[in-house]
Symmetry: C2
Subunit: 354 residues, 2 copies
């Protein structure tokens, strides 16, 4: 009898993990849990390792990526790790002059607002992000049967940063371009889609078991604008990701009006913020879509009894979905007490046990 | 025959204004238009008069209030004036130590987070805001048949400023209090409601023909939380305002999930942001509710043809409502070209003429 193949063993156990099963709408013996921004400022061990390392340096160093990605898995016992990165990492990797300013966010030295600017967006080559391949390789070894979720920002949100030159409340230049110069807009979105797809493919090739496409700011659009100017591009990314056979999660904030379109774009799992109860969200997405979410991250600042009651409500409503991955309705807030998250993870596991 | 009574004449003409008729869901010969933040930084004449005058001083000087309120009426020919103020004005008037910092927003020196803090919220007396009475009196004289809309911030948004100590992205302390200490929360909301009601009553007593209650940040809440923790308070305000027989407008941003509840609270007119098309919004609000909105303010940065096409779409969809007041889906953005607003006003008037 040949010796068992370690990789294959891992593959079998991995595919059997509650997280990947829930993404695929298969029965699970407990609801899987992870938290957006679980790797981040809420953890003292994160603040320690990041103390002297700027964000974009941390995102390009395999040792930092591995350590930071692993921290919440070790501490909270969550059912999935999320690859530590920032949405602008692939843009930095193709040579754009941008930085992440503490307390501000990504800042682009020379915003992109015309055809010449758009031409600066060359394709991303795997060699541009060899640190990703290295970090993911190490991570999947350390994680064993716990899946790693690949991470990328979606084209609309990336476009907004590039056009506005930094974080924007009203996205006025972005929308002016989108509404007023649709050809230029589509060229920009196509290039960003190619980069985004490649960034996710590198992560999957190295062992990521699922991917999440974050469109942080897409909730600023009406459904009609999303359908006309964004959906074709996210649909293109999701279609090509489909060839890789890993679950595709899609998330944005304030997307109550867009949930149907986010799943129409081709997501297997739609992340829902805290504004729409999961039983309502289940009615809005396409059939054969799992849901992820959606406890209000601010609820974690209330006493434990309140958190428990609200988490129980999320679990109950989540049963209306074809598959449910427990998460917050947005990223972990920096001042969150990490013990609250550990306790919440245990609570969800116990409450949902079948 | 007695000489005609000037006040009565004004009253008749005023009640016949397209704006007040649309609020009351009566037929109009053209769709009325006004813009949230029409009095503000988009106008060079506003920047001129405000150059050396801090915001809270401007809001307490009748000459400034009158001038700033009148500027957009003169320039754009809009169908209603909105009383120039800031949501924290009534809080300043009862003696709270707060200021408006340029580029930041309202900042509260000593945030309110417990029972002792809440006790500092005494009732507002008309004498605390005699400048309001004076300014409104002058304004209604100058405005003639053009209605003046009274202005106040709603209790949830005020509570958030008081609890967080300034503008907040996640409202975590606010929600922690709301979720975790409901009695304290309700005491705070009751006191803020009393203050808000009085602030609006003073404006109506002096001649305001309608009122708008701005709940800028209420879109951060789920429908269930709004119903449990906010609706009883806004409903109380609207019920008492009902005795004054002026149309009551209610507006918040990102309120797609809340539109039904915003009208259930007792608003005659519900303002809709740009995310929900007016024909859909019409299905969500209670019967006998007019709608206000909802061109994306960022659309004004696109070429005129795009603006016109989108404005026409808003008018078309607005026909599904029982009454429609044209507006933007949020306040005028500071960099907006004021000529665009003038042209838009004319366009809406012409397009909607019957």
């Amino acid at each position: 009898m040949p010796a068992p193949c370690a990789w294959h063993d891992r593959g079998v156990t991995l595919q059997d993990s509650p997280f990947l099963r829930a993404c695929r709408r298969l029965p699970v013996d407990r609801t899987p849990v992870w938290y957006m921004r679980q790797a981040g400022r809420s953890l003292p061990e994160y603040r320690r390792v990041r103390a002297d390392v700027p964000m974009l340096e941390a995102c390009a160093r395999p040792d930092m990526i591995v350590e930071i990605t692993m921290q919440p898995v070790r501490r909270h016992g969550v059912d999935a790790a999320i690859y530590f990165s920032d949405i602008v990492v692939p843009l930095k990797a193709i040579g754009l002059d941008l930085d992440i300013k503490s307390g501000v966010g990504p800042v682009v030295a020379d915003p992109i607002r015309d055809a010449d600017g758009i031409k600066r967006l060359r394709e991303l080559e795997p060699d541009d992000v060899s640190f990703v391949t290295e970090a993911v390789g190490t991570l999947v070894g350390e994680l064993g049967p716990t899946p790693l979720i690949g991470f990328a920002g979606a084209p609309f949100t990336l476009a907004s940063y590039l056009i506005e030159g930094g974080p924007s409340k009203n996205h006025e230049r972005t929308k002016a371009l989108m509404y007023g110069e649709p050809e230029l807009w589509n060229d920009l979105m196509r290039r960003l889609s190619v980069i985004t797809l490649e960034f996710l493919k590198v992560q999957v090739a190295a062992g990521a078991g699922a991917v999440q496409l974050f469109d942080s700011w897409v909730g600023a659009l009406s459904a009609e604008d999303y359908r006309a100017s964004v959906l074709p591009h996210t649909a293109w990314i999701f279609e090509r990701l489909g060839e890789l056979d890993v679950p595709r999660i899609h998330f944005g904030v304030g997307t109550g009006e867009l949930l149907s379109l986010l799943s129409e774009a081709g997501a297997d799992v739609v992340g829902v913020d805290w504004r729409v109860p999961l039983d309502k969200a289940a009615q809005r997405v396409q059939p054969a879509t799992a849901l992820q979410g959606n406890l209000d991250p601010a609820a974690l600042f209330a006493p434990w009894e309140v958190v428990a009651e609200r988490a129980r409500d999320v679990l109950t409503r989540g049963r209306a979905a074809e598959g449910h991955i427990f998460n917050l309705g947005h990223g972990v807030l920096p001042n969150t007490d990490p013990d609250m998250l550990t306790r919440l993870t245990e609570f969800v596991h116990e409450e949902s046990q079948t």
